[in-house]
Symmetry: D2
Subunit: 340 residues, 4 copies
């Protein structure tokens, strides 16, 4: 932690900061500069953070030196990426690529089983599908609920694909725990801490989506909420951030993938469907996600997107899925990875 004083801070103000820092037992170094004095605190950053130094007279800024997340940090895992299995599919670790596909929403048994068969045939690793849907307007369709989970279970039974589905209300915890293989936390809930803690306790792998205006530091702190419950199977998901550009629905931040690889041991999945909102962009962005080093992608597929109840324009046509999957896999294959 570095405390930068204002140019007109006097000796008394510097001494006051020094004194307060020393109450925490950190080592303190005063560094007088040309214009301003900086004070370094070496030791316990958490203790220093609670001192409220930013509010003291003569303090201009407090500059953190250490990263704000802990359990998700690459150092914590001795610079090794985490890897784990979901019903036999390996996630993370650099030898596999995870292809999650399925409908935005479970609309009916037939629609879901049809898509499940198509994505299975195309080589998918897992099946996605929404039972509970968060909607911006309270007057929109909110998903079929528990019956949708039962349909997903039937699709798993038939295809062998593990189920990825969103958890958005702590009241649904039992149902989600019973049916899901991977518990998805949506972007709008990335900082719903009550939900994160319950998700961490369900004993299932968690797919944590980045909030649409969350920094990568905040994403890793949100992962810490899940990890501290003893759940080590967390996948991060980049799904586009909100920027000034409206040509695409969100701006897919693919730089986040290699940045995360430098800072966390957790696997990173990319969602090109929600980021772009346009199926014509999903294939190129899926290829780019594989090329940039993501551990997998999650995409929406529908047999007839024109009649989808939700997000039809971004869903791939079922008939195109196998080709899509092969092209994406070819890019992942260039550095030796095979679809899980």
């Amino acid at each position: 932690m570095m405390i930068v004083m204002t140019p007109d801070a006097g000796e008394a103000e510097i001494a006051a900061v020094r004194k307060r820092l020393e109450t925490t037992g950190v080592h303190v170094l005063v560094m007088p500069g040309e214009l301003t004095t900086a004070i370094g605190a070496i030791g316990d950053p958490e203790g220093v953070r609670t001192l409220g130094l930013e509010g003291m007279a003569g303090v201009d800024r407090v500059v953190p030196i250490s990263r704000p997340y802990k359990l998700a940090s690459l150092e914590l895992n001795h610079h090794e990426p985490s890897t784990f299995e979901v019903n036999g599919r390996r996630v993370g670790g650099g030898s596999t690529f995870c292809l999650i596909a399925g409908p935005c929403t479970v609309e009916s048994r037939e629609q879901t089983l049809d898509v499940a068969r198509v994505v299975k045939a195309g080589g998918a690793s897992m099946l996605r599908g929404g039972a509970f849907k968060p909607r911006t307007s309270p007057f929109a369709f909110k998903g079929l609920g528990v019956p949708a989970l039962e349909i997903l279970a039937e699709a798993r039974e038939e295809t062998g694909l593990p189920i990825v589905t969103e958890f958005l209300d702590t009241q649904h915890a039992d149902a989600i725990a019973r049916y899901a293989d991977v518990v998805q936390i949506g972007a709008r809930n990335m900082q719903n801490y009550a939900l994160l803690e319950v998700a961490g306790k369900l004993g299932k792998p968690v797919l944590l989506k980045r909030g649409l205006s969350s920094s990568l530091d905040e994403l890793l702190m949100a992962a810490d909420y899940v990890l501290k419950e003893g759940n080590e199977r967390v996948m991060l998901c980049e799904r586009g951030i909100r920027t000034f550009e409206t040509a695409t629905r969100f701006t897919l931040d693919l730089s986040a993938v290699p940045w995360l690889k430098l800072h966390t041991h957790l696997p990173v999945i990319v969602d090109p469907s929600h980021a772009s909102g346009d199926r014509r962009l999903v294939e190129p962005l899926g290829r780019a996600a594989a090329a940039v080093g993501a551990d997998g992608i999650i995409v929406e597929v529908h047999q007839d997107p024109d009649v989808a109840l939700c997000d039809g324009p971004q869903a791939l046509y079922g008939r195109d899925f196998a080709d899509f999957a092969a092209r994406v896999a070819a890019h992942a294959g260039l550095d030796g990875r095979t679809v899980a």
Copy 2:
């Protein structure tokens, strides 16, 4: 709703869009243009929204004409602003200005009562104070919980000030309902729909903070979630949005206030403390909020911000509060408003 076709869309594609629109009973107008054809749908926008037109062949864009929110719209209230009372204090309607002040967090009985007395003496309308605190890192202080609510109730008893406190987990519903006079929904929970619905049912006025990357349309749709529970006492709160600028913690969007006045009947409160993160900016921004036409402000005050457990740098000194309040009130007074 206006459907804009791509320049190369043919007759068959235009006919297909027309046909699907007509299934909903809307009136359809085809408008051939120089480069592209546009198709207008007049009537039921919700029905049209669920048709998935964006995914049809030949469709370039679907441009909504009507606003996406309903219950919060100014038209719904016959172009009259809403006004209501909180324990005798009038909110909204143009004759009063609501001054909400208090500590970020209830740290102790003594600290809270001290601040409550100071803000009461300075002329505040209501007392704010956090019992449950959402924290970005799972390792930070999370508030005293129910004992904090009891302390706030004691402060209300002594000062007569209604209590504004944050509701962040549906498990706390009973406690919040018992102690709070105004139920605050924090920015990170603006799209936590499960929470919004429970908040709407508590029978208390709700202070709904704008999400840090939420558009104003989304804020009004979130208000719809509360309003549709039959709760008409909703205050909106602008508290800064996330932009590229990091000189201030967030960018306070004061243009939102007059924009909201043109589009919704709900009162609008401004939070300059969280927006700026720096008490030196809170006073000028509080004055600007009054000048721009906000129905009130909510600010943080601490007797000794240097030792605050949370957000000290943005808290006003208790000793400065009365002066601050008088200066802000003078700006509100220029168009005839008095502090509630």
Copy 3:
């Protein structure tokens, strides 16, 4: 300057950074921490910046401690705000408020003289008007050029109001120098360094608009470009930044005003017309600018905005200007300022 090493940086890497720093003569302090080592460089920040330390092995980040701008900094002016006169009108310094008004573009002699009389009668301090207009599309109207400058000069002759007009091409330097009283640099040219240097040499006060995605640090560095030419009469102008919110054309960053007051001695003007793009927001934002402590505002006025060639929707009606000016002035008057 603080150099933060990666957690796995070794002794050799730390020694290499230390050695390179020492070549510049700065004082070096090595601060070993729990996870990472930080190295402080005390002395000449410019010398250190050119060392390319970010590229060295084992370096995680280089954190600047001193501010990147120099001539514009408040310290440089001994913590006193700058104040200067434009044809007898005082700008900056806390006793006056500068009201700049006029048409977006000079469209004709009659239109310009009409508006000039109206804003003069309403109490304006200066007349704005565009002769050369930057346009996003190459097919849009670009201004009348030099004849527009002559019309503005005639308006000055009649009303006594100094002329503020945009300078956007170094080829127009002579004409601008001949006619303008204040040389405006538009937002899109804030980092057009060739233009800034020429503007600095014209010997006229400069109104420098913030780029639409420029940080405040960058705005002050751009001011340094003008100031280093020996021109001390620079006004900064906040005119809205580009964010995700599209309800208003830009997001007016009023927090920038008190932030700038803490960091620079230069006066700060606010442009609510371009920020909002909607005249219904211009009045409340003009009042807010006065309340937040700006040294003035610049607004667009047109006798008949419905037929304006440029930006009609944001222009105030000429007939409303005097009322508008009085309301804004009342807010400035609350802290003792009168219109210049």
Copy 4:
């Protein structure tokens, strides 16, 4: 063009809009809706744009239906991508991938020739290098100027690589025209229209970088400025946009590439070096650019980035370039493209 009226607009206001529209000869359709009336104008969008309809009484919004750019649009080129040669290297068109590499800045003859040999040996298509450098601070190194251009010409002589170099001041037009093979317009100058027009007249291919907060529509309108001078050889360059995320210097918007492919015939180049500011991200982002369908990349290379005068941390090591190039080329090769 669609004009949406406010819900309370009356017959007279609708008639006034209709009447003004009809003055331009467009075909007008009035569409009364449930809440609001919309008015469609079919025909000449430019004429309608200059009517100032947004400012008329009763008008809520004017929604453009046609795209704002013309010459750059895909339709204009009959849905065929443009392709052209630069000294024998083919750019655009889907069969080649253009690999532009070289130092950020020409620092010396030796440094430049060394890098030129390395990138030539690694298979680059063109050599980049800055002679004139735009700098945020007026006190930073600004490039060697014309002597740098002479050094670049010598490098071209030896390696055969065409030269890409930035044009930032119309005063340098003759020198740039004499030495450059590709004229680069930097991000900060994307809306410097005076410069764009001169660049369009130099008779050389132009590499136009996207402004750091410019929308894709604005990028294409800027391209129109160059194209309307009769210069058809324009390459667009995505180089990262400014967002709230500060983990990377900018956010590389790779979705822009397939979006541009849907809307313009111009080739698209990606600059991962400036976007990320960190060489550890340049390789993965270079691969992703190839995978997402870009027509090429432009990257910075330095023999010894630790001592680079400018942007060292983002420069690739010369010794790593050949491997880097091979890996990127492999991704481009998956859809049949070879390095130009």
